[in-house]
Symmetry: C2
Subunit: 457 residues, 2 copies
C-alpha cells in the first residue's frame, strides 16, 4: 500500500473521518447494519467530548460536588472536620475515567470489526482519502471532524496565559483566581467548578445574560445562584488581554480584571479546513459543512454529522446526526429518519444544574407564536425540599395556547440533568396537557415538578 | 349544628374522607372543577406519606447520603476529618421539612376554598357523615382513608420493643443494632438508612429475595450492594419475638437475632374499619374497598382512592386514583379517564437506589408473553462512571417480541429514581424500539443507559 494507489485491502464500504460522538457511534450503527468500516481519528477515539470536554469536566464536577456536599453537610446533621481538595487525586480520577471510556469505545468498535487508523485524513477525491501516505477508498464517506475552540481576534488572545477548555483541563493545581471570557455553557461549568473549589472567579460576558442557550429565567436563576461565588461582568466586551489581565469596555466605562489564568470560552468552530474538502467540491458555508435533514452533503455518497455541520454543537446531537446519516445510507435513501432539532435537551452541569428542552418563552415571543407559560418553585416537590431545602430552583413549562401541546420544559436547581430526557420524550410524542396529567410520576421525586406545573394550566 | 341534623352550612358537593395523597390532591382537582368540598382528616393533612412515610424517610435518607458522600469522598480527592452524624439535627430537619410540606398542602386547600375538619368520620348513611358529633352531607363522597402497618399474628409482635415505620421515625438516637422483619421497600429503606449511619442491621425476610415489587435482577443487585453493611436472612419465617429477639425458622434449622430495636415492616393494610362503611352497604373485600377502573364503589355517589382500595399502595397511585375519581364526578360519568396500573413507577430510595416501571421479566414469563430482554451495566453511561465509578448498577429493558413495543424499564444504581418517570411516559405513549432510538438523550447523563440498552435490540 501507500504511495498513491488504493489496494483491495484499503477499500471499505464506509469511511468515517473523525472518531468522536458523530463518528464512533455512527460506526457502531453502520457496522450493525453490515457495512465494512474505516474510522480515521487524528488523536483519541471518543473525540473532544470524551477526552477533552463533557467527560473530564463532569468527572471534575463530580469531585467538586463531593467537596461541596462535604462542606455543606452541617444542615443535614453531618459533622465533618476540615475539608480539603486534593487536586492530584481528582485529576487522576479524571484521567482514569476518560481512559476507561475511551477503551470502551475502542472495544465496541473492535467488537463490530471496525478498522481504526490514527492520523489526519485528506481528501484525494470524492471517494478516496489519504492518511499519512496511505490511501483508502469507499463509496460512502461520513465527515465527523468536530470543532475546536474559537479564539476571537482580540489583542493578546493567543498569549500563553490564555487557556482554552482543552488546556485548563490539564491544569496541575487549583488556581487562586481565574478570569473566564464567555459565560456560555463551557464558561459557566468551569466557573462553577473552580469557584466551588475556592478559586476567585470572574466571568466576562458580552451579552446581557449568561448561557444564552438556556431559557432566560433559568439562566437568570443560575447566575443569581452562582453570584457571590462568581463575579459576573455582563454586557462587557473584551478589548485586549495583557498576559492574564483582561481589559473590557462596558456601559459603566469599562475596567480590567486579572487572574492567575484566563479561560477563553467564547464558543467553538467547525473543523473543516486543511483536508481538501473544498477541493472536492463540498459545499462549506461559514466554515461548516452544509447538510440537509438526512445529513447528506451536496456531494452524493458524502454525509456529515456532528459539530462540523455547525448545527447544535452537542455530543448528543452528533450521535443522532450520525445515526440519521447511517439510516439514510443503509436504506438507500428510502428511510424515514430525519434530523429534528426541536427536542434536543440542553444541560448545564454547574452546581446547581440547569436543563431545558424544546421551545423557550423567548423563542415563542420572537416567532409570534401563542403560548401559555407556567412556572413553580422546586419546593413544590417534597423530594427537592428533603434534598435541597430552600435552595432556589423552578420548573417552567411552555404549551401551545391553542392545541395545549407541550412545547418546552425548563428546569433549574438540584440535579435536573437526569430529569430532562423524559420531557424531550413527551415533546417528541406530542403530548398535550391532558396526556401528561394521566402519567403517573414516582413520588417523591424532583421529576414531579413537571406534573405540578402541568396541573397549573 | 351538631346533634344529628344537617344544617345548610354543612352541605357540600363533595366530602373527602382522608387528607392524604388520595384525598388532598383530589380536593384540589375537584375544587378547580368548581366543587364545594369538605376534607375530613383524623390526624395531619398530607397523610402517612407526608407525615410518617415517604417524606420523613427521604429527608433522613438525604442526611444519610450526605454522611456517606462525606465519608467516601477520598476517591474523588476530597479529604475530610472525622465524619459524625448528629441525629438530633437530622431529626429536626426532618420535622421542619414535614411541617413545610404540610403547611403547603393546607395553604393549597385554603386557596381552593376547601373546608378541612379534624376528626374521625363515621358514616350515617350514603350521603351523610358524622365527625365528632357534627353531621355533614354531600351527594358525592370520596373515601381515601389510607392504610396502616400490618402486624402479623406472631407471638410477641405487639411488644414494646417492636416498632413500625411510624414509631421508628420518632426514634431519638441511632440504634446500635436493628432487626428488620420484612425486606420489602420500607424495610430495605430503613435498613439502608441505619446501616449507612453505623447501625448493625439484620433483615429477616420470608421470601427467597428482597423487595418482590422490583424486577428480580434489580432486587438481587440491591441485596448484593447492601450486603456486608446489612445481613440478610432470606427464606426465614419469624416464629416469635421475645422483647427484641426475633426467632425464625428457615431451611438451615432456624435461629435468632437480637437488636436494640425491632422494626416490623411486613406490609400495610387498608383502613376501612370503624367508620360504618359496611353498614351503609359498601362492598369491602379482604378489608379493601372494591372499586372499578373509574374508582367507583358499588354505591352510586361514593368513590374510593388510594391505599384503602388495596391496589398499588403508593402515594403516586393514590394521586392518580383521586384524579380519576374526580374526573368521573366532574364529567358526570362521561369522561375518558380510567385508572391504569401498567406504568406505575416503583422506586426504592436506598443507597444506591433502584427503580422500575412496567412489565418485569418474571411477569412476562408467568403470563407466557413473548418478550425480549436486554441489560447493560451502568458503566455504559459516561456520567455514571464520572459520578459512581465502578459501583455496580445496570439498566434493563423488556420489549414485546412481536411489536417491539417498550413494556418495562428497570434500573439499579446511582440516583435512578429521577430517571424512571420518562420510561413510564414512553410505555404509556406506546413507544417502540425504533421510536426510542429517535429520541435525543442529553449527554452525558445516566439516563442515557435507557438509550444504550435500546440499541441492543
Amino acid at each position: 500500500m501507500g504511495g498513491g494507489t488504493v489496494s483491495d485491502a484499503s477499500i471499505f464500504d464506509l469511511i468515517i473521518v473523525g472518531g468522536g460522538p458523530g463518528g464512533y457511534n455512527a460506526a457502531e450503527r453502520a457496522a450493525a447494519g453490515g457495512l465494512n468500516i474505516l474510522v480515521v481519528e487524528k488523536e483519541h477515539l471518543g473525540g473532544v467530548c470524551l477526552n477533552r470536554g463533557c467527560i473530564p469536566t463532569k468527572t471534575l464536577l463530580a469531585a467538586a460536588k463531593h467537596y461541596k456536599i462535604a462542606k455543606d453537610s452541617a444542615d443535614f446533621g453531618v459533622n465533618v472536620g476540615d475539608v480539603s481538595m486534593d487536586w492530584k487525586t481528582a485529576f487522576k480520577r479524571k484521567t482514569k475515567t476518560v481512559r476507561a471510556l475511551r477503551s470502551g469505545v475502542a472495544s465496541k468498535l473492535k467488537k463490530h470489526k471496525v478498522t481504526v487508523v490514527e492520523g489526519e485524513a485528506s481528501f484525494i477525491d470524492r471517494s478516496t482519502i489519504d492518511v499519512g501516505g496511505t490511501r483508502y477508498g469507499a463509496s460512502k464517506i461520513l465527515i465527523a471532524t468536530g470543532s475546536r475552540p474559537f479564539i476571537p481576534p482580540i489583542p493578546g488572545a493567543e498569549g500563553p496565559g490564555v487557556l482554552t477548555s482543552r488546556e485548563i483541563l490539564d491544569i496541575d493545581h487549583i488556581p487562586e483566581s481565574l478570569v473566564v471570557i464567555g459565560g456560555g455553557v463551557i464558561g459557566v461549568e468551569f466557573a462553577s467548578l473552580f469557584s466551588t473549589l475556592g478559586t476567585t472567579v470572574t466571568v466576562v460576558e458580552m451579552l446581557p445574560e449568561i448561557v444564552p442557550s438556556l431559557d432566560g429565567d433559568v439562566a437568570a436563576l443560575l447566575r443569581e445562584r452562582l453570584q457571590g461565588e462568581v463575579t459576573f461582568k455582563l454586557g462587557a466586551r473584551v478589548e485586549k488581554i495583557d498576559g492574564t489581565t483582561v481589559h473590557f469596555s462596558d456601559a459603566q466605562g469599562g475596567g480590567s480584571v486579572t487572574g492567575e489564568a484566563v479561560l477563553m470560552s467564547v464558543g467553538r468552530r467547525p473543523v473543516t479546513d486543511g483536508m481538501g474538502l473544498e477541493d472536492i467540491g463540498l459545499d462549506i458555508r461559514r466554515g461548516a459543512v452544509v447538510v440537509d435533514e438526512k445529513m447528506r452533503t451536496n456531494l452524493p455518497g458524502i454525509w456529515a454529522a456532528g459539530d462540523c455541520t455547525g448545527k447544535s454543537l452537542l455530543a448528543h446531537s452528533a450521535y443522532r446526526m450520525g445515526e440519521v446519516a447511517v439510516a439514510d445510507m443503509l436504506s438507500g435513501g428510502q428511510g424515514r429518519d430525519r434530523m429534528r432539532y426541536d427536542a434536543i435537551p440542553s444541560v448545564v452541569y454547574s452546581l446547581p444544574e440547569a436543563a431545558g428542552v424544546g421551545l423557550r418563552e423567548a423563542d415563542a415571543e420572537k416567532a409570534g407564536r401563542k403560548v401559555i407559560v407556567k412556572k413553580l418553585p422546586m419546593q413544590y416537590s417534597g423530594r427537592y425540599l428533603a434534598e435541597y431545602g430552600q435552595d432556589p430552583g423552578f420548573g417552567k413549562v411552555v404549551i401551545d395556547a391553542e392545541t395545549r401541546a407541550l412545547l418546552g420544559v425548563h428546569l433549574a436547581g438540584g440535579q435536573c440533568s437526569e430529569i430532562i430526557w423524559g420531557a424531550g420524550a413527551l415533546i417528541e410524542a406530542e403530548f398535550r396537557v391532558d396526556d401528561v396529567r394521566e402519567l403517573i410520576f414516582p413520588h417523591p421525586t424532583v421529576s414531579e415538578i413537571v406534573r405540578e406545573v402541568i396541573w397549573e394550566f
